[in-house]
């Protein structure tokens, strides 16, 4: 295989494009099909076809077996670490919504009895539903405190409009956190899958010699 000029040329030309496509799939996981898993596989395919043509030694120069194993573990650590970071900010494990918020300080909200908490939770859920329905019929969009027209529209229910603004701020921050978290965990998935594919290739290719 290593002497075939046709194969050599085709692989040499295609490899950078395959790798580039893999990176594209990685970074556009939120907008286009694919994500970390597919990106890792595509990038690994680029490296493996490079190694098939140029020999294992050439690949070993770029990435060694030991490095691949370390990277595979690192990917899982990044994924799990994102979850733990969320926990340090008063969120649940892997709850990305809190990632952009500050450090968590334990504070009793209103009271300590369970009815208060249920009430707060209910309020938040209600506000969220308002926002979701507002998002859908564009009721809440573009509402701000200085927006006179929007306030007039809500004149009968100023509290409702204020709630709308508050919830919007809260949800916008949550969306930023979600974005950050998903980018982090996709990177972890991509890294692990890429290294795992490389490791499998290394192990089988080494048995050849």
């Amino acid at each position: 295989m290593e002497d075939d000029i046709l194969l050599r040329t085709v692989v040499k030309v295609l490899t950078p494009f395959i790798f580039m496509f893999g990176l594209y799939v990685q970074f556009h996981g939120e907008y286009s099909p694919g994500g970390g898993f597919q990106a890792g596989v595509i990038c690994a395919a680029a490296f493996i076809s490079h190694a098939l043509i140029n020999g294992l030694g050439e690949l070993n120069r770029i990435i060694s077996e030991k490095t691949a194993l370390a990277l595979a573990c690192m990917g899982v650590l990044i994924y799990g670490g994102t979850g733990v970071v969320a926990m340090t900010k008063c969120g649940n494990f892997l709850d990305y919504s809190v990632l952009t918020e500050g450090k968590c300080i334990e504070q009793p909200i209103k009271g300590n009895n369970v009815y208060d908490l249920v009430e707060i939770e209910g309020e938040y859920q209600g506000a969220k539903e308002d926002y979701v329905s507002g998002y859908n019929n564009e009721k809440c969009q573009g509402v701000s405190k200085s927006d006179k027209a929007a306030y007039d529209a809500f004149e009968s229910d100023v509290v409702g409009a204020e709630k709308c603004v508050k919830t919007k701020v809260r949800i916008d921050s949550a969306i930023k956190g979600q974005h950050l978290g998903i980018i982090a965990i996709e990177a972890g998935v991509g890294l692990t899958v890429f290294s795992v594919m490389m490791l499998i290739f290394f192990i089988f290719a080494k048995r050849d010699s």
């Binding site: 694919g34 597919q38 395919a45 930023k176 979600q178 998903i182 499998i200 290739f201």
Partner: protein, 184 residues
Amino acid sequence: MSLLQDMPMVMDTVLLFLLLLNAIAVIYAKDLMTATILLGIFSLLMAALYLVMGAADVAITEAAVGAGISTILILLVLSLVGHKEKKVEGNLLVPAAIIVFVSLGLLYATYDMPEYGSRYTPAQIHVSPYYLENGPVETGIPNVVTSVLASYRGFDTLGEVVVVLTAVLAITLLLGRFTGKEDK
């Protein structure tokens, strides 16, 4: 009805027919190398079928994993074990009977499957509507598949990644002779 309206139906039929031809060709391929390439084509046809169904994420996975990396890995294995099939000896009646029996069972089971493309299956009416309605709002991500896999079902995906890592660790321990020192 015009041909244009029937297009998905026509594509499905053509692709499924090609899949059938491909599967038969794999069985009759004498050379294992040929069979591997045919299996790669099978995966590519499958990816096209998923694309017709509108499952772009599944299609790209099938193309990358099924047609791409697993073909490369099987070729690598073939370079170790040779690409001539070993002649099977002995009575083939029992294996053939098992295959026929299982196939009939699976065919019977398809009667319990929901209608193709039905909107009223449990998968479509349970949590999917919630994800479709709230996914873009709550996560701010237009690709609903990503928002489900990475956010709503983030814990499952973590498990998936751990499974992949565990699998490669097992392979390394069994086959890799990985001691931490450089092999000579």
